[in-house]
Amino acid sequence: MKLNNNTAKALKADFPIFRHNLGLVYLDNAATSQKPSSVINAVKEFSERDNANVGRGVYSLAARAMKKYEQARKAVANFIGALPEEIIFTKNTTESLNLLAYTLSQTIEKGKEIAVTEMEHHSNIVPWQQLAKRNRFKLKFVKITKDFTLDMNDLKVKLNDKTAVFAFTYASNVLGTINPVAEIVKFAKSKNVITVIDAAQAIQHLSVNVKEIGCDFLAFSSHKMLGPNGIGVLYGRKELLEKLEPFGFGGGMIETVSPDSATWAKIPEKFEAGTQNIAGAVGLTEAINHIKKIGPNEIADWEEKLKDYVLKRLNEISNIKIYHPEQNSAPIISFNLPGIHPHDVASMLDQKKIAVRAGHMCAMPLMEVLNAKGGVCRASLSFYNTFEDIDALVDSLKEIQQKFNKI
């Protein structure tokens, strides 16, 4: 189905939040997406009809729960072009990256370097930064250009024979910039660098295929792609996952245990210690179904139109500063009205039921590079947004600017 303003309105009706908050203009989809009824009901129905622990019981109810949980793994694998055993369920992107950094660091030789980029979210900086400190690795930052894209020349200097890991974002949560992931991975591979991709802001906007990208690891969260909170994914290449040590120890991840030693289960169970978020996994399956039903390509096309419209209309505002690249971007647009603090802009928009994010966006190093110390305002779109949502935003921004100009 081709999406347009009318179909977007119809798709919005699938999301109960808009029924319970009449007039809500939700433009904070990069923080978390809203949940359609199908996802909410899938979680509820699982809890009502199929709930049991998985990987433990032999009774039929447990087998049913197990089946649903493993179906979720298959659905995720299929969605990103991976094998089911390459999918590890975690709490969210942040946990995926932390666990990975923790276990990967045990395999890195002293004196090696880890590289990230200036456009990373804190969750793809701090885990590496702290491990670098603890293990005396050097942490390097690949620069961004003044056009808000990754500086590929700098990348080719920073990634070299000393680099062990390069962790970078697929799409920036501030700039919206979509990085040329396949090209980056190809170059990193030529230097024998392990590649880790933070896909938290890409997975809901474009088709992600790990085999086409060729990356070693990729992480994302369910809650930003219509799914429930509290479940995330870490994809890892099978041969690497098999070699890595587990992140956590306990039930479900062992093969045998004696009083003084233990052996590990096969992947992916090796990395899933303790009872998992089973209902969350079931909800994630439904979120994937929902996206597939609408069509990832149709979503991308419509969001591109919405993004062009928001950029066109924002540019009507005099002196506005927009932090967004010319091309290859997700519908995530950060901006500032000069002389007005982003928090004040967001609070004044809130009074008109318009939800945008304001602040440093968990990207303080990037704010420094952008010379936006007080932070930025961010409007981030989803396929259920409409032209009317964008008009409400821009018209209100104009009013805010007038109000401040008067004082």
């Binding site: 603090h341 928090h343 004040d344 609070s347 004044m348 009074q351 602040g359 440093h360 007080g374 109000k403």
Partner: protein
């Protein structure tokens, strides 16, 4: 409890104070000085206090911030000028929020209390 959208946080008395805040600046020889940070947006407020014989003789604040943090700190510094340090230490967060005479949601309470935290930090 449901978080209501505040009616109007940007009333005239607030914007007036934002335009010309009291006590904005720094002191040459402060007895105490402290900077507080808002981890949500990276804002900072620095408070300078001149204390003689247990009384706040002068107070100034500086930093970058939103309307709410700037106005709240301005009102707070007015309040504590000439107050005994022992009394300043007893001020509760609710009293600072009352100074604003507007309703804030939970997210913005942090902004309103940034200067208060700096004062507390300075007198610790």
């Amino acid at each position: 409890m449901e978080e209501e959208i505040p009616s109007d946080m940007y009333k005239e008395h607030i914007l007036e104070l934002y335009k010309s805040p009291s006590n904005f600046g720094i002191l040459k020889n402060p007895s105490y000085k402290h900077t507080s940070y808002n981890s949500v947006c990276g804002d900072e407020v620095t408070v300078n206090l001149l204390v003689k014989e247990g009384v706040v003789k002068d107070v100034k604040f500086s930093g970058s911030g939103c309307v709410i943090s700037l106005v709240a700190t301005s009102l707070l510094t007015n309040k504590i000028k000439s107050m005994k340090v022992s009394e300043v230490k007893k001020i509760r967060p609710e009293e600072v929020l009352e100074l604003l005479k507007i309703k804030l949601n939970l997210a913005r309470v942090k902004c309103a209390l940034l200067g208060f935290e700096a004062v507390k930090g300075a007198l610790k």
